[in-house]
């Protein structure tokens, strides 16, 4: 076992590691995996292979299309009954496992604590389950009187040919509430990502634009791709409220279908998780003329930057002053804690493999603590999330992508905001950046190892090579990594902690890192390399 690498002159070249990993694979697989592992060079345009089928038998952390549709996008919305049409497991496993939080006003509906399933049995598989589905919808309606019901198909349902869309239409007519279906069978796509797209389409088609609400604020915005894990949304909402920005709707942390219905009356869409929600942002711009910008509320600096970006968009002196005041005040608080935590964590090594945006967003928090990110990757992202939106037009459309409907969107003349289109044009001239996401790779250091859809074997090798001080991923990797004596921070569920968003969240995260990296328990685990002296790199990160 080798010593910890020397980081004085930047990150070590991981070519030997890459070779060692690939050597183990059969030739065909090695060829494919090779393209999904990139030794980063921010000065060059590098291509990564992403959003392709996982190889059978290689243990992936990816979930299925249904997980992305029901679990991720619609799961956190509280006033809709999400009814899963299929056998019991698919529904059970998505039962509030993502720890989304929601704040229910007095007398408001909250169905996210339920898991509804048609629990298909043998006879439904053989003779079809539509009748049972209709009964289940009627029953859910009678029991809860919800304003909307979403129906999600799982794999067996797609196979036996139950048509959830026609059942939805029929029941919508019968019950007079909004009912819509999603063909989000697990086999439809490469990963959760396909489900995000399907969910985006469904929400856009059946929800957005249903009610025109009078303006309630001077600056109306939507937040897209924020799921309120561990209370993140509450932190962000508090900032908007103080600044006087009216948050109409979030897709979909702490959200309601009701608020999504008037989301088209916003002046700006802010996109947080680009992967899961950029479709809605794009479609809303086409239909209503609402521009979108990429924001990030993970990390104190990023939060301040995002807030200022919104203030710049509206160009209102009072708003700008208020935002500056908030940022100044909060950054001072953050700095106090950062100063305390930094000395004990500076120069440590982190790696992160999660989701479709978190692996990028969290790098900002680590940078604030001078923790080095040596390797990172997404579970279900596409090339644009790695390389930036500039590559979208060159992404190859494969069979899996073709599987998902691309909605044809046309201008809604009555609601189209010409004024916003003009505003966008003017701001663009002064260098304001719209509809863009630069991706993760250009913002990572040279020689950082970027890996898409990492598997167990690669994880093991990576840990052996880098000996990171903290590994960020999810529950599925947690105990594998911890068995090796490396603490793992869950960035899907936050290890039941959080919030980590915005200024307050950054403080929580700093303290969490201090706790994780300072604990003595790992010293009890006898890792082989502990017997050899470490080469200690310099304690600052070179720019």
């Amino acid at each position: 076992m080798v010593n910890k690498k020397d980081y004085t002159n930047g990150l070590p070249d991981p070519s030997s590691l890459k070779d060692e990993i690939l050597k183990k694979y059969p030739r065909k697989i090695a060829k494919k995996r090779e393209k999904s592992m990139v030794i980063n060079d921010p000065d060059q345009d590098q291509e990564i292979l992403a959003n392709v089928r996982t190889i059978p038998g290689i243990i992936t952390q990816r979930g299925c299309t249904y997980a992305g549709c029901k679990g991720v996008v619609l799961g956190p919305t509280r006033d809709i009954i999400n009814l899963v049409h299929g056998p019991i497991g698919c529904s059970f496993y998505a039962w509030l496992t993502r720890r989304n939080q929601t704040r229910v006003p007095e007398g408001g509906d909250n169905f996210i604590t339920y898991c509804f399933s048609t629990d298909m049995q043998d006879e439904n598989i053989v003779f079809g389950g539509e009748a049972k589905l209709k009964e289940a919808i009627r029953e859910a309606y009678e029991m809860f009187k919800p304003k909307s019901i979403g129906i999600f198909s799982t794999c067996p349902v797609g196979l036996i040919g139950d048509d959830v869309h026609s059942v939805s239409r029929e029941m919508k007519a019968e019950l007079g509430i909004n009912i819509f279906g999603f063909s989000c069978e697990g086999y439809r796509g490469v990963s959760q990502s396909a489900g995000h797209h399907i969910a985006n389409n469904g929400v856009f088609k059946h929800v957005i634009g249903n009610t025109d609400r009078e303006r309630t604020g001077k600056f109306q915005v939507n937040l897209l791709g924020e799921y309120n894990i561990g209370g993140d949304a509450f932190e962000i909402e508090a900032l908007f409220e103080e600044a006087g920005i009216t948050l109409l709707s979030t897709f979909s942390g702490n959200s309601t279908i009701e608020s999504m219905e008037y989301a088209h009356t916003a002046d700006l869409n802010m996109v947080m998780c680009h992967r899961s929600i950029n479709y809605i942002a794009e479609m809303m711009e086409e239909k209503y003329g609402i521009p979108w910008v990429k924001v990030n509320f993970i990390g104190a600096d990023s939060t301040a930057k995002s807030l200022k970006k919104i203030a710049d968009y509206f160009g209102d002196p009072e708003l700008t002053a208020k935002v500056d005041e908030i940022c100044g005040r909060e950054m001072a608080k953050v700095k106090v804690i950062a100063d305390v935590v930094k000395p004990s964590v500076e120069g440590k090594l982190a790696m992160m493999f999660v989701g479709g945006s978190r692996a990028h967003h969290y790098q900002d928090l680590f940078a604030e603590l001078n923790i080095r990110v040596v390797s990172a990757g997404y579970e279900f992202a596409h090339r644009d999330d790695y390389e930036g939106r500039k590559v979208i037009s060159s992404i190859k459309i494969d069979a899996d992508t073709r599987n998902i409907e691309d909605l044809v969107v046309s201008k809604d003349e009555a609601h189209f905001r010409e004024d916003l289109v003009e505003k966008k044009e003017t701001l663009k001239k002064s260098g304001y950046n719209f509809s863009d996401y630069a991706g993760m790779m250009p913002e990572m250091k040279k020689n950082a190892l970027v890996i898409d859809d990492i598997n167990h074997w690669e994880t093991e090798k990576l840990i052996e090579f880098y000996k990171p001080d903290v590994f960020c991923a999810g529950i599925k990797e947690k105990y594998v990594v911890q068995k090796l004596g490396i603490p793992l921070k869950q960035l899907h569920s936050y290890d039941y902690g959080g919030p980590y968003a915005a200024f307050g969240g950054a403080i929580n995260f700093y303290k969490e890192m201090q706790r994780m990296l300072a604990t003595n328990i790992w010293k009890l685990v006898d890792t082989p390399w502990k017997h050899e002296p470490e080469i200690v790199g310099s304690m600052t990160i070179e720019a």
Partner: protein
């Protein structure tokens, strides 16, 4: 209707259909999980085994996720990652690639494949695939293969568990000269329970095969260097000797007599491993409920005395005596308290019997299982009070919830999933069974034997004392 459905219909029309016994249409907050999850747990109890779930990758990922958060251990389960293509042309190609990769990545002894709703619906025959693979592959030293047919529309995680156990026994058990060893099939118990049981059999100086033994594979010590396949598990060489054992002991009286076994499958005339061994090899089977509580543990010990020809060791007499002594001490705190018990069917039967024995009134005994036999079994083991016990098959948490609104119990006994009801009613919940996601050590909870019962008993009494203490206006330190 698509062509595929038509074919399917024709194919399945002649097979007997399992009718659900449920009254409600929708399941709200299910009190059961799905079949390949149970099969995966059982397969994890074979030494050197990596389970593969044949179907969409979501099933495997969800199941891993669920097991990992209960066991707090790495749980490697591979998937054959169906694409839309595979659903049309069959999952053969995916199955072979998965086998190739699992075999080349792990130094494994056994590959175990469980099917899903998806692969079963399209009629994939994994046994056939496995045979083909064996014929066609160029790989040398192939591991053993075993499969389990586990569509969740025919049964819950318990059915899947027992199906995997039965299938493993049917695949590997061999005839042989009668030995002196015994087989123990403990069913779905905790890792600590398994460790207990092994100790107990050793104390009776018995040679034994305990299957499935996931006491280590799903509850490992910390490592330091990574082991791709965790140590532990029942070796195939031992499972082979099940056929020549002197006797089998099988915990559970309902087992997989739910939907799965109701479907007549040619290979499946004996639904459980022990039943198969009795029929094929004449290994006498002692079937009994899980040994929880004095009465049911006595049954187990009596059987052990019989099959070992040895008297119960003094150590256990002591345990039993202390347990009864504590019953006497704790009685005043618990007598007449009303409990709701829920979970897997055999777990519910044993737990109800134990609670009945200590004077707690089980008012509702509920399960998501669909055997329709819960009431019958409870009647058998709680002959005096069964009429006051609502025994409910095919229940979900919302039905439990609704029921409790008009019949408020004093405590809940079962897994984490009813926490929300207990919280709403402001009564304590004693966590045991599966899954436990909101406490540390859920996988290590002890349930069986005199000491397992002792721990449960203390927990129950203390929870009720704590409840009383917390709700008293006086801060009593003596209770």
């Amino acid at each position: 209707m698509t062509v595929l459905t038509q074919i399917l219909k024709n194919m399945l029309e002649h097979a007997p259909i399992i009718k659900s016994t449920k009254e409600f249409t929708a399941t709200r907050n299910a009190c059961k999980l799905c079949a390949p999850l149970g099969a995966s747990i059982a397969f994890k109890g074979i030494r050197g085994c990596v389970p593969i779930i044949h179907g969409g990758q979501g099933c495997a990922t969800y199941i891993r996720r669920y097991l990992i958060s209960h066991y707090k251990e790495p749980v490697d389960i591979a998937s054959s990652n169906f694409s839309e293509e595979a659903t049309i042309f069959g999952g053969g190609a995916n199955c072979y690639t998965a086998l190739d990769n699992v075999i080349s990545q792990y130094k494994l002894e056994v590959v175990a494949m469980a099917t899903t709703c998806l692969s079963e619906t399209i009629g994939d025959d994994v046994n056939f695939y496995m045979q083909n693979y064996r014929k066609d592959t160029e790989l040398k030293n192939l591991p053993h293969f075993v499969t389990a047919s586990t569509p969740s529309y025919q049964g819950s995680h318990m059915d899947g568990f027992h199906e995997a156990v039965a299938s493993t026994i049917k695949t590997f058990a061999q005839a042989g000269e009668k030995g002196r060893h015994i087989n123990l099939f403990p069913g779905f118990v905790s890792t600590e329970d398994i460790r207990q049981l092994k100790q107990l059999l050793s104390d009776f100086e018995l040679d034994y095969v305990l299957f499935p033994d996931y006491s280590e594979t799903l509850d490992n010590p910390i490592w330091g260097t990574y082991k791709r396949i965790p140590e532990g598990g029942t070796p195939i060489s031992q499972i082979e000797t099940c056929g020549s054992a002197g006797a089998s002991i099988e915990f559970g009286t309902i087992l997989n007599q739910g939907s799965l076994s109701g479907r007549v499958k040619s290979k499946n005339l004996s639904p459980t491993g022990a039943a198969f061994l009795e029929k094929e090899f004449g290994v006498e089977n002692h079937r009994m409920p899980l040994p929880i509580g004095v009465k049911l543990t006595d049954v187990f010990f009596n059987t052990l005395e019989k099959v070992s020809g040895k008297e119960i060791p003094a150590k256990y007499k002591g345990e039993r005596g202390r347990l009864i002594d504590s019953y006497a001490d704790g009685h005043k705190y618990i007598f007449g308290k009303k409990a709701v018990v829920y979970g897997e069917e055999d777990f519910v039967v044993a737990m109800t019997t134990f609670l009945d024995e200590i004077g707690i009134d089980v008012v509702l005994a509920a399960t998501g299982g669909e055997s329709g036999k819960l009431e019958e079994e409870i009647r058998k083991y709680c002959p005096e009070r069964w009429e006051n016990i609502q025994a409910k098959n095919s229940f979900d948490y919302e039905k439990i919830h609704d029921w409790c609104l008009s019949n408020k119990p004093d405590l809940f006994i079962g897994n984490s999933k009813a926490y929300y009801i207990a919280r709403e009613l402001e009564v304590p919940i004693i966590r045991c069974g599966f899954p436990i996601h909101d406490r540390l050590g859920g996988q290590r909870i002890k349930h069986v034997g005199y000491t397992g019962t002792q721990e449960l008993f203390d927990k129950i009494v203390n929870a009720l004392i704590e409840f009383k203490q917390d709700h008293s206006p006086v801060g009593y330190k003596y209770m």
